[in-house]
């Protein structure tokens, strides 16, 4: 029994070629067993059009390189089986990020800047003592930190975000989750006001309109909805208390989270 023929309509544009114009280009492939967008695009590049630009590295949904819009939805291409898709597949590069060419966008620059904005590292109070014992952490807390550390920086949450499409300076679910990761980590000792300065603004948590496109499309099933809600509650309370008591309350409980 013959398999399906799939038509891939792919966005084409090379911003570094002055003659290039944006357009959609169609490629037809015979579907093979267990075909996914990764194998399909590689076949298209090698057999039909060697100029087609796209990014893959791990092909195992762990590196975050292959985020793209598949029939309008942000997904990891290597994790998207064609058997789940109709016979016509439209591929577009992720919105929000700078286009490198065709389906390839630059997520690295944005994530690097986000890391600097959020100060994505442990803020310790004491100088590191190489001869001392390590700071102990209950396993349950370590697992909580790990859950928030699993972000692969693919950018799908930003591509799915209503606020990000309107304000390019929005921290996004990825940036807010990164801050939450450090709030949960007992080794991080940054102050409430340091946290508030970065995320207690319209570029931070208060820019979120609650669409939750991020949570719907995160390929790692990160707890974005709950973490964003948590951040909003904590920062709103901290903001209120600072007005009532003329001093923000401690934002970070030590040990387990409520």
């Amino acid at each position: 029994m013959p398999g399906r023929r799939i038509t891939f309509s792919v966005f084409r544009h090379n911003p570094y070629d002055p003659d290039s114009r944006t357009r959609m280009q169609d490629y037809v492939l015979d579907e093979t067993p267990r075909m996914n967008i990764f194998t399909a695009l590689n076949r298209i590049r090698e057999e039909l059009d060697p100029s087609l630009q796209f990014d893959f590295v791990c092909r195992a949904a762990a590196c975050g390189s292959c985020g793209m819009l598949v029939n309008g939805r942000p997904r990891l291409a290597c994790q998207t089986r064609t058997e789940q898709l109709p016979g016509h597949v439209t591929l577009l590069p992720l919105p929000f990020f700078k286009l490198v060419g065709d389906l390839s966008v630059d997520t690295g620059t944005w994530f690097r800047e986000m890391g600097e904005r959020v100060r994505s590292w442990i803020h310790a109070r004491e100088e590191f003592d190489p001869t001392g014992e390590e700071e102990r952490m209950p396993n349950a807390v370590a697992l909580q930190v790990y859950e928030l550390d699993r972000c692969i920086e693919c950018g799908c949450c930003l591509a799915a975000c209503a606020t990000a499409v309107m304000r390019p300076d929005f921290l996004g679910a990825a940036g807010l989750l990164r801050m939450a990761r450090f709030l949960v980590d007992p080794r991080d000792r940054r102050s409430t006001s340091e946290v508030f300065e970065v995320v207690g603004t319209d570029q931070g948590i208060f820019g979120c309109v609650g669409l939750m496109g991020c949570d719907d499309y995160c390929p790692k099933d990160l707890p974005l909805a709950t973490q964003l809600a948590y951040l909003r509650r904590k920062l709103a309370l901290a903001g209120l208390r600072s007005r009532v008591n003329a001093g923000p309350q401690e934002l970070k409980p030590r040990g387990s989270r409520s």
């Binding site: 090379n14 570094y16 070629d17 590049r45 090698e46 057999e47 060697p50 100029s51 087609l52 060419g101």
Partner: protein, 196 residues
């Protein structure tokens, strides 16, 4: 001594002040490498008839079929021959696309000759090593031979060659000799001792 100090300082000054002159060995290396790659990219636009992905697919197949888990003389020799052919063909690579911007075809074409040289090093080294050792398994030489082959293969690539130059470095046992792994080390050693 004074003359040497002054002389050296004069040389440094000239090097520093000359415009358009390369200032150090590192810069010179970088410039040479850049010029080399630019030459190669220009050559790709010169109308060569070979397609990078055809050659690469054949490279993948040769290694999978003939330089795999179970190796033997016939297949390894055939692999070396075919890889050399592919290497010569790769000198005639052309482009099917425009090559402008971050071109995946140019990227693949720049990488292919190096991949072929690496494949040749693996296949040729395996052909020469007439024993089995670790993941190198020879159906025609199934035993490990510490008498003749307890040594490391070194490969260099003479300019213009289509095969690496192999040499060998003996393993120096410092504390522990290699142990029994159960694929004939002691038999080889006994056999060698008997013929001495």
């Amino acid at each position: 001594v004074m003359g040497m100090v002054v002389g050296r300082r004069i040389a440094e000054d000239i090097e520093w002040n000359e415009r358009g002159f390369v200032r150090s060995a590192a810069e010179r290396c970088a410039r040479d490498a850049q010029a080399q790659v630019e030459e190669r990219i220009k050559a790709l636009a010169g109308g060569g008839r070979e397609y990078v992905f055809d050659l690469r697919h054949r490279l993948e197949d040769v290694l999978t079929e003939k330089v795999g888990v179970f190796r033997n003389e016939k297949d390894l020799a055939a692999a070396v021959g075919e890889l050399q052919e592919l290497y010569h063909r790769s000198e005639n690579l052309g482009l099917r696309s425009s090559g402008r911007g971050a071109s995946p075809e140019v990227a693949a074409a720049l990488r292919l000759p190096g991949m072929l040289r690496l494949a040749l090093t693996i296949a040729y080294g395996a052909l020469k090593r007439t024993e089995s050792r670790g993941s190198h398994y020879r159906e025609d030489y199934p035993r490990r031979d510490d008498v003749n082959w307890l040594k490391r293969t070194l490969a260099t690539w003479p300019p213009g060659a289509d095969l690496p130059a192999l040499s060998y470095e003996p393993i120096v046992i410092t504390e522990l000799p290699p142990g029994e792994r159960g694929y004939g080390e002691s038999q080889t050693r006994q056999a060698a001792a008997r013929t001495d």
